[in-house]
């Protein structure tokens, strides 16, 4: 007995030692150079969905997706659109129908040509609710969308608004005028798909076939996604390197450590612990410029004493806005990696202006704020507590603590924060309209257009759970301007109307623009051509080393 037991003990130890030894097969790892090829490594997170363009709505899948698929138009780093696969996109007189002509010579990496059908079938697939694609609502302005949201679909039904004219031409009928459509089609969900996709979407999601500047090579789950240069690509963004390897990290701190040691080439964020120091760190190249993400908070438009359509509500809203010192928050709380807001879009949105009428309502002015608040008090007394809800898992706490303190000090009102543990819980409370006070809102644009900020967030059509108008702001004049902008002939003309519509927003303040999150990132010192684009992502095609 005694001996036997010792044998067991010895065996356990032996196994343990053996297993420990398994790891000793050391192989030197340098993913950066692969047989003399210039491969750029980038920080990434594991995609939360298969790599299907229409099902990708987060950066983990969006980063590789953007490089794998060329769309009708592409955007330069500043967000200006130019035709890519499209030869021309021509609207009819009231922007209810578009005729799209494709360029010759575009091919998917499996050798099949990109035809009109590559687009129409792909768009119908995403729009069709049966296929459960997360970006389906992007197609809601195309005629026939509603028919594809019913029960009992097979998944192969097509959008009735899409008609193939010939191999290189198709028309799009809109269910409502949409002047931003030629920009919208640059969003990833509008990518064309090859015929092979429909045979086995599941397999495609693991090994996508696209037509973009890069070609899919390998997806090693939770480890890395490898893309190599697509030699057949002739579009606007030809890659200067031979490939991108997206390395999946467990945290931004470990990735930042790798950037400093040169084991990783580029990342498009900076860990909170390094925001103070990264611009002075000699081991990295730092990038810090105004970005396209707009950070705001919203007070529900129908909240008593704060209604956007009453004088009292507007006075209170303006008072609150003027009582907030945005510059101080950006400098002290964010360590300078933000830019105080001047309007409702972003400095990287075509048509941005820092001098729209009513902009002064976003400037810090405590004396005027007190005056306005007193005027509102004269109309009707308010003695409630104004709460600010935010999700506590995203680092928003110091910002909201600062806002609440500034309101207490500058207006003398009772304000408090209302943190919720997770983003999920917080968004649930917002979508179910359970929050009876202010709450954090922010917007990352899908395509660089003022429409994406204004219509999606403040139009009546997007209120009451039908879109992202979480404060349920409804204003007939604003809606009318949105319609006019949709029907505008040119983008410039539309942008003028959007600026005009912002005068209403700046007056009534359905939401309070705070600051634009800066595009921040770091690259290893050996990397050349490090710039970031309107999506706050590195311009991958330009990176070399």
């Amino acid at each position: 007995m005694k001996k036997k037991a010792f044998v067991i003990a010895a065996a356990v130890c032996a196994v343990a030692t053996l297993m420990g030894g398994c790891g000793s097969s050391s192989s030197t790892n340098s993913a950066s150079t692969d047989g003399g090829k210039m491969i750029i490594t980038s920080y990434a997170s594991e995609p939360q969905n298969p790599l299907i363009p229409g099902n990708t709505n987060e950066t983990g899948g969006g980063k590789p997706g953007d490089l794998l698929f060329a769309r009708l138009v592409s955007f330069d780093a500043k967000g200006n659109a130019s035709n890519e696969v499209a030869e021309s996109i021509t609207p009819n007189d009231d922007a209810t129908q578009y005729t799209i002509k494709l360029k010759d010579g575009w091919k998917f990496t499996d050798g099949t040509p990109v035809t009109a059908e590559s687009f129409t079938k792909a768009w119908s697939y995403v729009a069709n609710a049966k296929n459960a694609q997360k970006c389906s609502s992007f197609f809601s302005t195309i005629a026939g969308f509603d028919d594809l949201q019913k029960d009992g679909l097979k998944g192969t039904e097509q959008l009735s608004g899409l008609k193939v004219v010939d191999d290189k031409t198709f028309t799009v009928d809109m269910s409502q005028p949409d002047a931003t459509f030629p920009i919208k089609v640059g969003y990833l969900a509008f990518a064309p798909l090859p015929e092979s996709f429909y045979k086995d979407p599941k397999a495609f999601g693991q090994a996508p076939v696209g037509n973009g500047p890069y070609k899919f090579s390998k997806w090693d789950h939770n480890k890395e996604i490898d893309l190599v240069k697509n030699p057949d690509y002739k579009g606007n963004d030809v890659a200067k390197n031979d490939g991108i390897t997206f390395k999946i990290y467990t945290s931004d701190t470990s990735a930042y450590a790798d950037i400093q040691s040169g084991a990783l080439d580029v990342m498009e964020s900076v860990p909170a612990s390094a925001t103070k120091t990264f611009q002075k760190n000699p081991k990295v190249q730092a990038y810090n410029k105004a970005g396209s993400v707009s950070q705001t908070f919203t007070i529900p438009s129908s909240l008593e004493h704060f209604q956007t359509n009453t004088e009292e509500g507007q006075l209170r809203r303006q008072a609150i806005s003027m009582a907030i010192n945005r510059k101080q928050i950006v400098d002290k709380v964010l360590n300078g990696i933000g830019t105080p807001a001047k309007e409702f879009t972003s400095p990287l949105t075509p048509g941005y202006s820092d001098s729209i009428k009513g902009e002064e309502n976003l400037e810090y002015n405590p004396t005027k704020a007190k005056e306005l608040w007193a005027k509102a008090e004269a109309i009707s007394k308010y003695d409630g507590q104004l709460t600010f809800a935010y999700n506590a898992d995203g680092g928003a706490k110091p910002i909201y603590d600062a806002i609440v303190n500034q309101l207490k000090n500058n207006l003398g009102i009772d304000a408090a924060t209302n943190p919720m543990p997770t983003f999920q819980e917080f968004r649930d409370a917002v979508t179910n309209r359970q929050i009876k006070g202010a709450f954090r809102t922010g917007w990352q644009p899908d395509y660089p257009s003022a429409e994406n900020y204004l219509f999606q967030l403040y139009a009546s059509a997007a209120a009451d759970g039908k879109g992202s108008n979480d404060g349920d702001f409804k204003n007939a004049d604003f809606d009318k301007l949105m319609d006019e902008a949709y029907a505008a002939k040119t983008t410039d003309e539309a942008n003028k109307i959007y600026q005009q519509s912002q005068e209403i927003l700046l007056q009534q303040l359905p939401a309070f623009p705070l600051y634009y999150s800066n595009a921040v990132g770091v690259a290893a010192t050996s990397v050349k051509g490090f710039e970031m684009n309107w999506q706050n992502l590195p311009v991958y095609e330009e990176l070399t080393k």
Binding site: T250, S251, A263
Partner: protein, 308 residues
């Protein structure tokens, strides 16, 4: 012995069932709708959301969801993650990494802990005893993320002595420092445990008797002092191996190790019930089996213990 083993194994069944039900209920009770969260702050297309809910049985009441999970788990079909990956594949990728890290940390803490503990216990009061005591006190009082970050920054980033993070190859050299960080606190405990056991056993009557009978110093140490001293150490090590297998969330995040801890953390954040419960079930089995092995080892170390 055989009967005892069988009984212990049968006892595992209610433990595993109860624990999975509990964990499933906890994940289910997490606030927030995971399907809505998939859309981020973009508009939720209800028709699409309904499709996704049906696919993952999220539209059914809690107990039905649990029973469906159980039925599938019996055929080793743990379902798919929200990303469309088989759960079993996710686990199969994460576990080998964690096992490697855990075993390395375990060997590190067991070997160095016991050796330093013995040295310290036998030579109480010597200068190296004091050094070992101070270092172990330091390791116990400093949290692992401090040791981890400090080591990574100075040894890795500044002086380039160790790999900064672990690549997807998880080589021995890359894993060595994270394993040491992970095992350091337990090592310190083991040093102190071994030291106090040795020093108290050395003064026992039976040790004096053994010496009086003329036994050599070496066999007194091996057969009497060490064996008796190691029982609490083995208990501690057994528990610790179970805990190490559960993944080390903080160490894994610092050093970019894609193990069980990180996977669990991610799946809780996303509300992936199936994945969380599958991981917990496996961890539970590991823990119960570790405990069983420890109990078996008692018999080897202490002849008075018999299992019938």
């Amino acid at each position: 012995m055989g009967k005892y083993l069988l009984r212990r194994i049968l006892q595992m069944i209610p433990v595993v069932l109860g624990a999975t039900l509990l964990v499933y209920a906890l994940v289910f009770a997490l606030p927030g709708d995971p399907v809505k969260a998939m859309f981020g702050d973009k508009p939720v297309n209800e028709a699409v959301a309904a499709q996704i809910r049906a696919e993952y049985n999220l539209d059914k009441p809690f107990i039905i969801q649990y029973l469906l999970f159980l039925r599938n788990a019996f055929t080793l079909n743990f379902g798919n993650t929200f990303a469309g990956q088989p759960v079993i594949g996710e686990i199969a990728r994460a576990f080998p990494v964690t096992i490697k890290l855990a075993v390395m940390a375990f060997c590190f803490e067991a070997i160095f802990g016991v050796v330093f503990g013995i040295i310290s216990g036998l030579k109480k009061g010597k200068w190296y005893d004091s050094v070992i005591l101070i270092v172990s006190l330091l390791l116990i009082s400093v949290p692992t993320f401090v040791t981890g970050f400090a080591g990574q920054y100075f040894l890795g980033v500044q002086w380039s002595l160790i790999p900064v993070t672990v690549s997807s190859n998880t080589t021995f050299t890359e894993m060595l420092f994270p394993a040491m960080v992970l095992g350091s606190v337990s090592m310190a405990y083991i040093i102190r445990l071994t030291r106090s056991e040795i020093s108290s056993n050395i003064a026992q009557d039976y040790v004096r008797t053994a010496r009086a009978k003329g036994m050599s110093n070496g066999s007194v140490m091996m057969r009497h002092v060490l064996r008796n001293s190691l029982i609490p150490v083995v208990t501690y090590l057994g528990q610790d191996l179970g805990a190490l297998m559960g993944g080390a969330m903080i160490t894994e995040q610092i050093f970019n190790i894609h193990g069980v801890g990180f996977l669990t953390y991610q799946s809780i954040l996303k509300g992936e019930g199936n994945l969380v419960v599958s991981i917990v079930t496996i961890l539970l089995l590991v823990f119960v089996i570790c405990n069983l092995i420890v109990d078996m080892l008692y018999a080897a170390l202490d002849p008075r213990i018999r299992y019938e």
